[in-house]
Symmetry: C2
Subunit: 333 residues, 2 copies
């Protein structure tokens, strides 16, 4: 691998995304991408007693499904990179405790899936034959933890987003038929002073811009190089902000840019306001929809930029702003 500029790595032998899996909740099952996911759940509990246990089951079953689909014996998978939004990432650690694969816990808030793909790609080129990257989130456990008890039935402002219930998992391999991770651009923490925990899109858009510009600068590519540029969960509000911010810097991304949080729900019919969010948002939309578009050669090159809001409930109560981060992977056939 080779460093391009300050933040991008170009792989000499691009790691292959061998297989993916995605499981989503009932709300996502009513959305426009429902047919692309491997499994849609009928209720939020999936037979478990709590939302946290349900989220653990979702990531566990998603990971197991990706391994089964790949046909790779699980003891040939050398590392597992995983994380989630729950305090101390318990969804991943409880869900994957029986996996018996060396485990590297990661936290990048909603950027976690792409952080995992980035680290996984480096390990795959440097020292491993196969690795696994996974992330999950759950609407109910996230609302309970970050905002208000669901039972309160609080009204949600129009800028708020709907945490995706689900998990995505990807297996990376040294060799294969693609798609391939050709570049990664690792983001810096960017804090523009936004304090509204119900407007994560605005808080994260500047981080997405920073990583996007850096990726273009480091690689010498321009927006039209990609069939699709995708952010993870900026939602409708953040998406518009990013388009404008990029335009101010001379990059016109409107033609081929979209956001996984915009794509996963039908805003008008599903009352999801600014769109989807959560670690599972880009993890399921990539693993469900875009992976197949690449495999079927309907798309050849995508840039996936997952954004994360590095905040918690206590920091907001203490008057802190919301730092954002964004990590990008270039995925090509």
């Amino acid at each position: 691998m080779k460093k391009l500029g300050k933040q991008t790595i170009k792989f000499d032998n691009p790691p292959c995304i061998t297989e993916v899996a995605s499981i989503v909740g009932p709300k996502e099952a009513q959305g426009p991408l429902a047919n692309y996911f491997d499994q849609c759940l009928e209720d939020e509990f999936w037979g478990e007693k709590t939302w946290e246990k349900s989220e653990s089951k979702i990531i566990k079953e998603t990971v197991n499904m990706s391994i089964a689909k790949s046909g790779i014996p699980s003891n040939n998978i050398e590392y597992c990179f995983a994380g989630d939004l729950l305090n101390q990432c318990i969804s991943s650690s409880f869900g994957l405790r029986e996996l018996n694969i060396p485990f590297i816990g990661i936290f990048g808030a909603c950027s976690t899936f792409v952080e995992g793909l980035s680290l996984g790609a480096i390990f795959t080129e440097a020292c491993a034959e196969h690795v696994l990257c996974a992330a999950s989130s759950h609407f109910c456990s996230a609302e309970k933890q970050f905002r208000f008890p669901l039972e309160l039935g609080n009204q949600r402002p129009q800028s708020s987003q709907w945490t995706v219930t689900g998990a995505g998992s990807a297996i990376l391999s040294k060799t294969g038929s693609g798609p391939f991770i050709t570049h990664i651009t690792t983001g810096k923490i960017v804090d523009m002073g936004i304090k509204d925990a119900n407007n994560m899109g605005a808080a994260m858009a500047p981080a997405a811009l920073d990583t996007l510009l850096c990726h273009f600068k480091d690689t010498g590519r321009s927006p039209n190089y990609y069939d699709a540029i995708l952010t993870g969960d900026l939602g409708y509000v953040g998406k518009e902000i990013l388009i404008e911010l990029a335009q101010d810097k001379g990059y016109h991304i409107k033609q081929n840019y979209n956001d996984c949080g915009v794509l996963i729900f039908d805003k008008d019919k599903q009352d999801t306001h600014s769109g989807g969010s959560g670690c599972a948002c880009c993890a399921t939309v990539f693993s469900g929809y875009f992976f197949k578009q690449l495999k079927d050669k309907k798309m050849k090159r995508i840039l996936l930029i997952a954004t994360g809001a590095l905040t918690n409930a206590t920091s907001s109560q203490q008057g802190e702003s919301i730092p954002g981060i964004a990590h990008a992977v270039s995925i090509e056939m």
Copy 2:
């Protein structure tokens, strides 16, 4: 780099730990290692209004101190790996948001510092000249979040541990005069069904054993290869368990094994029961004490195994057991 066995990587060009820094709180400043830390604070708040903000300041200043001591311009440091125990790792993200270095958030509970050294070592051999690894914890913010409000003055059982207030930071470089990270052994999640959140040592000891045995098996080394084998924060209870478990497997580690949580406090004078814990425990004890022992050639080879309890307050309330993990780095002059 080269894979040895299932879980160990041996570096062809072992990354150098160029510089370290450590800042600790007032309790640690009364302990037996006080003179080895770079800075000891006089109170838990360090001029901040909350414990969380204080913890962020501690990791920020520790990281800045390690950069300053190294003499490496901060824009030559290519990646920062950091994490902590607070929900959503806010100590690291708030503390390091002005750092302006590509940021990779990690979570391994109290194993975070060694997880960072492991990832940092791989990046340093594979693609970076200099990287930074840091971790923090804070007694007050941890008690508040994981156990009870400090104001309650709850009695603590003898098996309970005292979260270290402080942070450790290490800069790894492609070249230098040592000490060097020669091997890393990445742990699996191990859950033996222990449910007592006041006995973390017992919950984590089986994970430490798993990684320890794996390291010996993968490398062909035996305990007496090392001048010191060190666990992160098993405390007095977990240390005894690990000695016994290892003995049952035919490894006699008693002679050269100790635990950073045992070393950092004076059990009798400081009322710290089973000893220190937290991400900062091994981060400060390594950065404060052992790094200097290696630099001064009083020791030549140490094995640092940091253990983490992958649990949170909610999972314990839901009757879950406490999964453990342990990551090891072999550090040699």
